[in-house]
């Protein structure tokens, strides 16, 4: 299948994208190398148990979607004081050296087939640069996809002792028709004592195939925190990751999803403890209705030299329909004994006793169930430190409830 896409893509097209963005030679080379590598790269790994692949990525027919020179989008960027929130061409113009240094340092441009495709073809995206010592509360990015395929690439660089909160919304434009493909790569670098908080609210329309990789590196005392809301899309394959590279650094990954009809979510949260005294907390809650399906993988990897590690993971899925399916695999990989680690995962339905209690108080059954579903998300919502994000997510959840 991958050979088909390559056949459609040419060096000329990639070069043209690069020229339109007025890119330096090194970035064009990176793109062309990624294009070149497509033939050898595999699809992103999916979980397999005997006789079964949990997500079928071959369902994506890239040949039909990808027209490298046809990418339309609306982009709103709201920046905060002291922070540069820039388009790629502006960013390359203003911070060329810095971008050359950081680009691809967190997410390997050739990590897998879909990432390499993004590297070769991205034209949309944003660079957020937070200089040393700057604290920025409200950076907002809204991406509205208006073409059949969109390749979005975001780079966040937070220098020493800075902090930034970024809120990204991903949506599909009104005039969209038919199946589409959205691809998003986010690289975040938190320097010494810096904090990056990155929230993404994905509400693409339900004919869109969605692939995303978000990955952060932390310096000493640094923090990268992710908030993930997955509501839209036909099929989502996403991984949110942090490598704790600096001593005493931290990461928190908070996720919420709500699938209905025949949506399929393949969601991963991964953290690598690679330095001393690091802490990670992974929390995900999701609800499935109708024929929706979720695949969850959580990885806590404690390295040989990661002394004094604290690592926690919780995943809970609520199933509202008998036709839905929830698969989960929370993994602990522990190489240092000076660790306190735990994970837990549960799958269940709305509690019968709670339902009975509420219906006996004259609340109609559907209203009672909806209240319990909203209540189920509460522990995750309360972990969302950004008010606006929390309200938006709660709003989308409320919309999804059965009448």
């Amino acid at each position: 299948m991958s050979t088909q896409v390559q056949a459609n893509l040419t060096e000329e097209q990639v070069t043209e994208i690069s020229e339109q963005l007025d890119e330096p030679e090194w970035l064009l080379e990176t793109r062309l190398d990624a294009l070149d590598a497509l033939g050898e790269l595999d699809m992103p790994a999916v979980i397999q148990t005997p006789g079964r692949e949990w997500t079928n990525l071959d369902a994506l027919d890239y040949e039909r979607f990808v027209d490298p020179l046809e990418m339309a989008q609306e982009k709103d960027r709201v920046d905060a004081e002291g922070v540069d929130v820039l388009s790629w061409s502006d960013a390359l113009d203003q911070h060329g050296d810095l971008i050359e240094e950081q680009f691809g340092s967190v997410v390997d441009p050739q990590r897998d087939y879909l990432t390499a495709l993004s590297t070769a073809l991205f034209s949309a995206g944003t660079v957020v640069y937070v200089p040393e010592g700057v604290d920025a509360e409200d950076v907002k990015i809204r991406t509205r996809m208006n073409s059949r395929a969109l390749f979005n690439y975001t780079l966040v660089i937070a220098e020493e002792s800075s902090s930034v909160t970024i809120l990204e919304r991903q949506e599909t434009g009104d005039d969209a028709e038919g199946e589409r493909y959205y691809s998003g790569v986010v690289e975040a670098v938190a320097g010494e004592n810096a904090t990056v908080q990155y929230g993404a609210l994905q509400n693409l329309d339900e004919e869109t195939y969605n692939f995303q990789v978000k990955r952060g590196h932390t310096g000493q005392y640094g923090q990268v925190n992710w908030i993930e809301g997955n509501i839209g899309s036909r099929l989502t394959k996403t991984s949110v990751e942090t490598r704790l590279l600096g001593d005493s650094s931290e990461s928190k990954i908070v996720g919420a999803f709500f699938g209905h009809e025949d949506q399929h979510f393949d969601l991963a949260s991964r953290v690598w403890h690679e330095a001393e005294h690091t802490t990670a907390d992974l929390i995900t809650r999701g609800v499935l209705d109708d024929h929706a399906r979720s695949v969850y993988e959580g990885v806590q990897d404690v390295g040989r030299e990661a002394w004094d590690t604290n690592s926690y993971q919780r995943e809970n899925t609520l199933m509202l329909s008998d036709e839905s399916e929830a698969d989960a695999s929370p993994k602990l990989i522990i190489n240092n004994h000076d660790t306190e680690a735990s994970h837990s995962a549960t799958v269940g339905q709305v509690d019968e006793q709670d339902m009975f209690y509420m219906t006996s108080r004259a609340i109609p059954a559907q209203v009672a169930e909806n209240m319990l579903v909203e209540g189920f998300f509460e522990p995750v919502l309360s972990e969302v430190a950004v008010d606006e994000f929390r309200e938006d997510l709660a709003g989308l959840i409320a919309k999804r409830l059965r009448e």
């Binding site: 008998d322 695999s329 993994k331 522990i334 004994h337 680690a341 994970h343 837990s344 549960t346």
Partner: protein, 476 residues
């Protein structure tokens, strides 16, 4: 029972497990796996044609199947050379299918099992005992009172001859087909020895039935097959112990266990495995459980260089229950990759998995589990609990559970924790006058207690003693 306990305490456990005998055998197959070898084994056992056909079919499947090497964190199996394995050794005894009395056994075999404490255990606490040496059962005994009730306990080769219809129906057909994995296929081709247990309807075998397996020859493969059939409303507890001394070449153990639990029947299968540290232990064990039946797996995995073993239960009938209690201990150079698999295929089924592991001196323990809730398994529940205890940063402990949930009216919970031996706990015990070694040993003993309390006393003592041995010299 107390004399048995004393016996085990007094015997130096290390000497019991590490001695080895000079090799002497009546028949030894050629190295490697060919159709010819399999025909020779089958002929030597005077098997019916259908069994030979099953073996040959399994060999073909084995040759076509891949090695399980692409699993994350799975043991390295590259050292296994199928051309170097001697798949079949018949020990040098006159009596085929097991001597009837202990005294009939050749002295060296008597001596071996004496050191392992087999006759003691039998005298004191068991309904029946079988002992396998290399590829064949060499001793078999069943108390008369159970025989009178129609309980059958004999070696598998004999069962093929004497209970052909039952075996033909159940042997690697529904429970563990050779197509399950490469080593199940291997097992299907070259299996030899093992136990056959049949418990008729409404019969309770109150005392455990025990089999002991020992590998003595270098470069040998042991492939015993255990088939347990518990008819409706019956109850039996089967215990298996295994050991092999250490040689420089690798040994391969690839057993197969099939358990059929009838309606409202109850089977407990307990095993303490202490293969030598050059043994690859790659087993397939599975139970099928009918309505309201209960299956219990209790296992301690101590030895082997690498173990890949995931006892599994298919809860086929409504109201069936499955419990797993396992402990794994991995020291230097060991990779114990084990877990449990449960398929909830009927409503109101229930399972619990309790897994504990200890790793030290660079040892690696993995929990790899699968819980599957089929569409229609409503009102079923499962709870999985994994605890790992680690001694040092050379060791590794991974927990990789998989949950596949296709039914909404279920309750699924998984929990795992990893931690080191608590400094405060050690300090507390030390302030009460214990030295460091004793304090840690006491903590470990407490950690594994949920397992030992499920085992008959002689096995519990053995497990504790084995863990003490593993910990000796490594602490302080």
């Amino acid at each position: 029972m107390s004399s048995d306990q004393d016996h085990l305490k007094e015997t130096d456990t290390e000497a019991r497990f590490e001695f080895k005998k000079e090799e002497s055998s009546a028949f030894k197959s050629e190295k490697g796996l060919t159709e010819e070898t399999i025909r020779v084994i089958s002929e030597d056992k005077d098997e019916p044609e259908w069994m030979l056909e099953r073996r040959l079919r399994a060999l073909k499947q084995f040759q076509q199947m891949p090695m399980p090497t692409d699993w994350p964190g799975a043991p390295d199996l590259s050292e296994i050379d199928f051309d170097e394995i001697v798949p079949y050794i018949r020990p040098d005894i006159e009596t085929r299918g097991g001597a009837e009395s202990w005294e009939d056994l050749p002295e060296e075999i008597q001596d071996t099992f004496d050191k392992l404490g087999i006759p003691e255990a039998e005298k004191n606490a068991l309904s029946g005992v079988g002992a396998q040496y290399e590829s064949e059962i060499v001793y078999q005994n069943m108390q008369e009172r159970w025989e009178d009730k129609g309980v059958i306990f004999c070696d598998m080769d004999k069962a093929v001859q004497e209970h052909e219809e039952i075996v033909k129906e159940h042997f690697m057909t529904k429970c563990v087909p050779p197509s399950d994995n490469k080593f199940a296929a291997l097992h299907g081709a070259v299996w030899s020895g093992g136990s056959f247990v049949y418990v008729p309807e409404d019969t309770t075998v109150e005392m455990p039935v025990q089999a002991y397996f020992r590998m003595n020859s270098e470069g040998m493969g042991q492939f015993e097959h255990t088939l347990i059939i518990a008819e409706d409303n019956s109850e039996v507890h089967y215990i298996e112990g295994c050991s092999a001394p250490k040689y420089s070449a690798f040994n391969l153990h690839s057993g197969g266990v099939e358990v059929f639990v009838g309606e409202n029947a109850h089977v407990q299968y307990s095993t303490v495995q202490n293969w030598s540290k050059n043994t690859y232990n790659l087993n397939t064990k599975r139970a099928i459980c009918d309505a309201d039946g209960t299956m219990e797996w209790v296992s301690g995995s101590m030895g082997s260089k690498a173990t890949m073993l995931y006892p599994s239960t298919i809860l086929k009938g409504p109201g069936a229950t499955d419990n797993h209690i396992t402990i794994a201990f991995a020291g230097e150079g060991q990779n114990i990759d084990t877990g449990a698999k449960v398929y909830h295929n009927a409503p109101n089924t229930k399972s619990t998995i309790e897994s504990k592991s200890i790793s030290k001196d660079g040892g690696r323990t993995n929990y790899r589990g699968l819980v599957h809730m089929s569409d229609g398994a409503e009102n079923s529940s499962t709870s999985v609990e994994c605890d790992a205890l680690m001694f040092d940063n050379e060791s590794t402990s991974d927990t990789m559970p998989y949950m596949e949930i296709q039914e909404n009216k279920v309750d699924v919970a998984h929990e795992a924790t990893v931690g080191k031996i608590g400094d405060e706990d050690v300090f507390y015990l030390e302030t009460r006058g214990l030295d460091d070694d004793d304090a840690k040993q006491m903590i470990v003993a407490g950690f594994i207690e949920p397992i030992t309390e499920e085992l008959p006393i002689e096995y519990a003592v053995e497990l504790n003693r084995l863990i003490e041995l593993e910990m000796e010299g490594s602490l302080g």
